[in-house]
Amino acid sequence: MLELQYPFDADHILRKKKSIRKQLLARENVKYIEKKIAVLGGSTTSDVVLMLELFLLDNDIKPVFYESEYNKFWEDAVFGNEELDSFDPDLVYFHTTSRNINNWPTVRDTAEAVEELAQAEFDRFRQAWESVAGKYHCTIIQNNMEQPFYRLMGNSDVSDIHGRLNFVNRLNQKFYEYAREHESFYIHDANYQASVYGIKKWADLADWYRYKYAMAVSAIPDFAFSLSHIIKAVYGRNKKALALDLDNTLWGGVVGDDGPENIKIGQEDAVSELYSEFQEYVKAHKDLGILLTVNSKNDIENALAGLKRPDSVLSPDDFLVIKANWENKDRNLAATADEINIGVDSLVFIDDNPAERAIVRDSVKNSTVPEVGSPETYIDVIDSNGFFEVTGISDEDLKRNEMYKANIERKQTMSSFADYGEYLKSLEMTGEIKPFAPMYMARIAELTNKSNQFNLTTRRCSLAEIEQIASDPEYVTLYGKLTDKFGDNGVVSVAFGHIDGKIADIDLWLMSCRVLKRDMECAMMDEFAAECLRRGASTIVGHYYPTAKNKMVKDFFADRGFTLVEEDGEGNRTYELDISEGYVKTNRYINVNP
């Protein structure tokens, strides 16, 4: 919804929140993921929750909330209570602020005493985090401490160990260190939000003493928006690619009219420098695993000539797909999504022209087309929307552009083989199919949240859940990694099931569509069956739960030789495979665990 995209009108959202909520819930054909979120607050949380709900609904996440009593975050976390236990949160968010620091240093304290104070504050929080992590195996989000609005020691407050600002920074460092060492634990940068809003307006004493809101009520929409970025990223709702216009978006001027030598890019003048910084910002996304594409009304020769200028930061090689033609941009956008095999809702379209933006927004359902304004605000608008919020950088992210590029090369090679089997042989594929391993946990969780098409049960798992399943001896877990002569595809398939006596019941089975028709699903089933046999199971049970997106796998189990034993009115199917007499392997082309 455009009114929930940055730049938004916070007062409008606050005032209209009820009608906005109604509009969000009235949208048709939305496939929500439901999440239970416990908000444990050190100050009033009610509007934080209401605003957060809007932004999560906008990302197709339907939250159910538990809210602690006023300032009972620590008691709830450490001692628990029945209501919270039965709620069993997927995610616990600690809404605390500098108001919740119990003991501040005074100028009389020694250096050791100040460090002890900081350590004691940190330990109090750590106790709360470890308690909920132990009980609920949940994702945790913790605000960092925002800087105080006054400075007793003036400028020295930041550098002197007795200063409150210095103390807040010291405590924050301890929080960050903990975050680096713990997966499924994320810091919400409340301090940044306070700074952007303006720390003096943020610390609205009237709102604090009247309502016990730790921040001005008007600041809450921005705050909740930022918080929602982490949550939607954790649950796989990040965007995957940028689709960029060229003229007056990546450079100044119109390359077809002005000629490549006259467009504004490089360091020659102020406008060129501005566009160069934007290109650098765009290019940096590649390392985060964000795919770059072009969607521009231009002749392809002119588009390439612009990108090939020696002083252009971006070159044609940086883009996975370049659509420079006279086709409508909404059609180009859909074609781009098709070509790289991602949903069109995973693309963010950037264009300086408000008319083009409006057309794409109206004609492509679920498209994301931010109001980027003028070149001076492009970076801020893209950045503040948190489309690509990072919750950890995996090896996959660093290599993603190369992997997709290799995929396009594979498609080209395929056409040179008359026989598909010969083509598969020529790929020289090796697979690594093994139980969930620590270094792949993040990727595994990511896949359960991102895969929609080749996904039999569409079960979404947080990192914490994946870790728990991996450590549970009743579960058979497998990840599949596929390498071929064009490169490493990384972890592309995930499956797990639980063993109950002689029955192995498959809870989740998914595969990335980029390795479709490569025999990977056969290799995975071979390994899964082998492990079930080893554990003494005689029957494998599989389920297919239909969604709007997973029709392609409705016959997956039938194709693997399973027998349909049940189908209900909604199309939910249960299959069985008898392995009491053994199992015959079906993978022909992948060399597994060499």
Binding site: S19, Y213, V217
Partner: protein, 79 residues
């Protein structure tokens, strides 16, 4: 801005905050007259009114306003 003009704008704020287009407030309206008007919505209402008129109520005023009429008195003093 006349008192009538203030009421036109104020009605819109009430209708938005309580998401009810039928709300019409007058001098005697109190929290008892509007179903959803509890202490949490009161906060949102105050903030929305402040923003709509570009004013700020003092802490004492927010707690002492007896009815909408008292609120309009303060608004008309400020703008």
């Amino acid at each position: 801005m006349t008192r009538e003009e203030i009421y036109v704008k104020l009605n819109e704020v009430f209708q938005d905050v309580f998401d009810d287009e039928d709300i019409v407030v007058n001098d005697d309206t109190t929290a008892d007259d509007i179903e959803d008007w509890d202490s949490l919505e009161h906060i949102n209402l105050i903030v929305a009114v402040e923003r709509a008129f570009g004013i700020k109520f003092s802490m004492g005023e927010t707690t002492s306003m007896k009815n909408v009429g008292a609120m309009v008195d303060i608004i008309s003093e400020r703008i």
